[in-house]
């Protein structure tokens, strides 16, 4: 009975409950359908009619999925927060690695040894700035989904950023808003890279000692942050797909 199998699959899929509970529900509903079919056959109903009876008895699979989703709401919330935190952490690590690696390479080109580029206090500041920006940006993305849990996830992200230090939190939020605005207002990908790179280069010229090395460092940072927006969107997509 393929229709009843699809019905059960749809119930479990639409409930979005964690996989362990999902498998249990699947197994139980299949066992229930077997009982239903056995009973109906004994009562003399033909198979095509039994299939219709099962579908009618179960009713709307989406509604049943929602009922299960409500029962397992805490488990779903924990899983979503864990996925959100892990994907944010992964994005932060990848972004920081990419920015620091390219900056070290550029520094080498300007005659600065790699260890001097990445082994300074400045690197720690940069790492904290990246972490704060990624957390705030992921929070903004979550809020845009307009779900209560997403707001909670955003709050967690902001608190994580806050734990770093207030100046990093301010930098992170301002940076995330700038990056998000670019994503929303500027549609072509190359133009986005151009706007973000230009923005960071100008900021670098304003707040640091103007030099080719500093100019290149800020340019790399801008490009890295723009890459981060792409990474954050992909990891969010991946985590949503995994949850479904």
């Amino acid at each position: 009975m393929r229709a009843t199998d699809s019905l059960i699959d749809e119930i479990v899929r639409s409930s979005q409950i964690p996989s362990g509970h999902g498998r249990e529900v699947l197994r139980e509903l299949r066992s229930h359908v077997d009982d239903f079919v056995l009973h109906a056959r004994c009562a003399g109903h033909p198979d095509d009619e039994i299939e219709r009876m099962v579908l009618a008895s179960f009713g709307d699979p989406q509604q049943m999925g929602r009922n299960f989703a409500w029962v397992y709401r805490r488990e779903r919330a924990v899983r979503r927060l864990a996925t959100f935190s892990l994907s944010t952490l992964a994005t932060a690590l990848l972004t920081a690695s990419a920015i620091l690696a390219v900056q070290a390479g550029v520094g080498e080109g300007f005659g600065t040894p790699i260890l001097r580029t990445i082994g300074t206090h400045h690197t720690i500041i940069e790492l904290k700035n990246i972490a704060a920006t990624v957390a705030a940006y992921a929070g903004l993305l979550a809020i845009s989904r307009r779900r209560r849990l997403s707001q909670a996830a955003a709050l967690v992200a902001l608190l994580a950023a806050f734990a770093l230090h207030v100046p990093y939190l301010i930098f992170g939020i301002a940076n995330a808003i700038f990056l998000r605005l670019v994503q929303i207002r500027v549609k072509p990908q190359t133009a986005r890279f151009g706007v973000v790179a230009a923005g960071f280069t100008m900021l670098g010229l304003l707040i640091s000692v103007p030099s080719p090395a500093s100019f290149a460092s800020w340019l790399v940072m801008g490009l890295g942050y723009q890459m981060m927006t792409w990474l954050a969107a992909r990891t969010r997509q991946m985590s949503t797909h995994l949850q479904e």
Partner: protein, 109 residues
């Protein structure tokens, strides 16, 4: 008589606990028994029954175990826990009190 879903919702835990207080049962059996014992008044549907059973299990009022029957078919049996037995008694008392109060109110009209 078809009972309004909202009215049914409030009594589903009591119905399930009451049925299970007479012995362990699996889902399909609960549906059949609730219908039979209530003269078809409680025609529980799968969409209500299974989420309610899982909710009661999460609250620790019932527990479940998979068992394989003689015909090799697996079924998930539900049974009351100690906490569930106490809850069943409490719910029943509350229900008697509530229905008594509602009846008194209706008769006074």
């Amino acid at each position: 008589m078809e009972i309004d879903r909202e009215l049914l919702k409030g009594s589903i835990s009591l119905v399930l606990l009451s049925l299970l207080s007479r012995g362990e049962m699996y889902g399909y059996e609960i549906m059949q028994e609730s219908s039979r014992r209530s003269a078809n008044a409680f025609a529980l549907k799968e969409g209500t029954l299974y989420p309610a059973l899982h909710q009661l299990e999460k609250k620790g009022l019932i527990q479940s175990e998979w068992r394989t029957g003689d015909n090799g078919r697996e079924r998930k049996y539900y049974l009351l826990t100690k906490k569930g037995k106490k809850a069943a008694q409490k719910y029943e008392q509350q229900w008697q009190y509530l229905t008594g109060a509602v009846n008194a109110l209706l008769e006074s009209n």
